[in-house]
């Protein structure tokens, strides 16, 4: 197992190199650069802009820029945000944990809803409950995330129980540690629901299908022939098998969550990686874009790895080192 994990981690390197190269080129060929805003102001002399361009290395060919960016990054220096005027690492240290927290809570939320609902829908197949949950799943899958986020903001502003955005309250620093934690949680609730509900619906449907599939299998007949009570058959024999494909989908889910976070964070004004990367793109803040993409991709790849490890853990048939 250890060698497998090590191998997968090593494989991350060429992958991240490819990702960084692709995105670097995309940023390079996108029209204009960070200095466009300065150029538009007539009172700034051209010499100043030229000097600035040299300073940022924007006058050199793209591959030279890439190599110098890569050299710095490998040494752990993510550069400086041109618009925020602080080191990118500092910016990421603020934003990445917020998105990670949001993604994880959404994932937990989705699973906590999807697994029981899917199981009950399968056990009480064709009942009113099954039909209602299928209908709600369609609704949840079909509502655009950003629209749901909008509705959530409207809801929050009219009802007043939940904050309309942000990571924490203005008085956060004056709260007790417990109060601070609650403050974070309080701000996380709505974004979590908005981001998690689509995934919950999808997972629920998969869970239901898997359960119905496994119920047909011969080992369920064996268990029944042994005299195992029906509820034990459902919640132990069937559930343990039906959940495996869900674990595989965990890695996949991460991609959706990070994408969804861009929308949810922007609408709900939640200061995470998604909001950061969108703004950085708009401002052509190259080093921030690069670092955020690298961090996002790393989260995605590691998420996939964790899903594969978990799968080996829950399914004895899967072993990676042979």
């Amino acid at each position: 197992m250890k060698t497998y994990i090590l191998r997968r981690l090593l494989l991350m390197i060429p992958m991240l190199l490819g990702v960084s190269l692709l995105v670097f080129v995309l940023v390079y060929i996108s029209p204009g650069n960070y200095l466009d805003a300065l150029k538009a102001q007539r009172d700034i002399p051209a010499e100043f802009i030229a000097k600035k361009e040299r300073e940022l290395g924007l006058d050199r060919p793209w591959y030279v820029q890439y190599v110098s960016w890569l050299g710095r990054t490998v040494r752990g220096d993510f550069g400086e945000s041109w618009s925020y005027r602080i080191p990118v690492a500092e910016l990421l240290a603020q934003r990445a944990p917020a998105t990670l927290a949001l993604s994880l809570t959404s994932l937990v939320f989705a699973w906590a809803i999807a697994v029981p609902l899917g199981v009950f829908a399968a056990v009480y197949r064709n009942s009113i409950f099954d039909k209602l949950s299928a209908l709600s799943a369609y609704a949840a899958l079909s509502i655009p995330e950003f629209f749901l986020a909008l509705l959530a903001v409207i809801f929050a502003s009219q009802w007043g129980v939940f904050p309309t955005g942000g990571l924490s309250s203005i008085d956060h620093d004056y709260l007790s540690p417990v109060g601070q934690l609650w403050d974070y949680v309080h701000h996380l609730i709505l974004p979590t629901i908005v981001l998690g509900i689509g995934g919950a619906a999808g997972l629920m449907r998969v869970m239901r299908t898997n359960m119905l599939d496994v119920i047909q299998s011969e080992y369920v007949m064996t268990a029944r022939a042994k005299g195992v009570p029906e509820n034990v058959i459902m919640f132990r024999h069937v559930l343990r098998n039906a959940i495996n494909p869900l674990v595989t989908s965990l890695g996949f889910a991460f991609s959706g969550l990070l994408s969804g976070a861009v929308l949810v964070e922007n609408v709900m004004n939640y200061p995470g990686l998604g909001q950061l990367i969108f703004q950085a793109f708009m401002r052509k803040d190259r080093d921030v874009v690069m670092a955020a993409v690298i961090i996002g991709s790393s989260m995605l790849i590691i998420g996939n790895l964790i899903a594969d490890i978990l799968l080996a853990w829950v399914d004895p048939r899967i072993r990676y080192d042979k």
Binding site: M221, T222, G227, N241, N244, V314, R317
Partner: protein
């Protein structure tokens, strides 16, 4: 082998239908037979003849729908299992009537260890057993698995097909049932393994004295083990008699056809016979 008391299992006029309305099929159509204590009865027929349906009906294991128990009774120890509550039925399943199935590879739950699967049966039906693990080892030992203690931690996929079927048998025997229903126990296995499993079943029959209901389509494997043969054809019983009698003097053309299907060693036979249903219908 005949016991003085009534038969262990007595099936009277059982009828099982699949589907309903226009598409109904009579999978089992008005059959009656019995199995006495300690007796081994082979139910022989092609796939679709209703033999597996009969076997599963004994403890109402068929999913309803599509199956319907339309009529008749199944008396096990004098109690009609078709009329038992789900709760009472669970005490019959595994405890009184145990099953082994055709595909050991898919009949064992892939995510549980051998120990868990055997222990589950023991805990359900023999609450007085304190050392469940030792009992599981004993069961594995009984079916001829070497180093049973080490095998306990294995998962089904780590065992060969023959081993898996032995585990299934061990699981079935662990609760000391009165009747073992073996539904095509060797069909999915290699020929050499088939022989081993059949030898094991005969061995167990001698050791434990339990009744066995052996479902098969293969006349070749029953000669040394079955006391009696019941032949099924299209949901009906067409012949029922002592094994030697039936093998030597088959009365029904279908039985003859089935016996002819068995390749004989040394016989100068170019082709294996195929069964011609129309011919049987005509001559029956």
């Amino acid at each position: 082998m005949t016991s003085v008391s009534g038969p262990l299992l007595k099936v009277n006029n059982l009828q099982v239908d699949f589907g309903s309305g226009d598409t109904v099929t009579h999978a089992v159509n008005d059959i009656s037979f019995q199995i006495r204590d300690g007796e081994t009865v082979a139910i022989v027929g092609e796939s679709g003849s209703g033999k597996s349906v009969t076997a599963l009906s004994l403890t109402r294991l068929l999913p309803t729908p599509p199956a319907h128990y339309v009529g008749g009774e199944i008396l096990f120890n004098g109690r009609n299992t078709l009329a038992l509550s789900e709760n009472d039925l669970r005490k019959v399943r595994g405890k009184q009537i145990a099953y082994i199935f055709q595909e050991p590879g898919t009949s064992l739950n892939p995510v549980f260890t051998i120990e868990y699967q055997i222990a589950e049966a023991i805990q359900l039906h023999r609450p007085d057993v304190t050392d469940v693990r030792a009992e599981a080892i004993r069961a594995l030992d009984l079916v001829g698995i070497r180093n049973p203690a080490q095998r306990l931690g294995d998962y089904p996929h780590q065992l060969s097909g023959g081993m898996q079927q032995r585990v299934m048998i061990a699981m079935a025997l662990a609760c000391q049932p009165k009747l073992l229903v073996a539904d095509e126990p060797t069909t999915a296995l290699d020929v050499t393994i088939q022989k081993q499993i059949m030898d094991l079943l005969r061995d167990i029959k001698v050791k434990t004295g339990m009744s066995i209901m052996l479902i098969t389509h293969n006349f070749g494997i029953i000669a040394d083990i079955a006391d009696r043969v019941v032949v099924m054809f299209r949901g009906k019983i067409v012949e029922d008699g002592p094994t030697g009698e039936v093998l030597r003097h088959p009365k029904h053309p279908y039985t003859r056809a089935l016996i002819d299907c068995v390749p004989k060693l040394g016989a100068k036979q170019r082709r294996l016979r195929a069964i011609d249903h129309a011919e049987i219908e005509a001559s029956a």
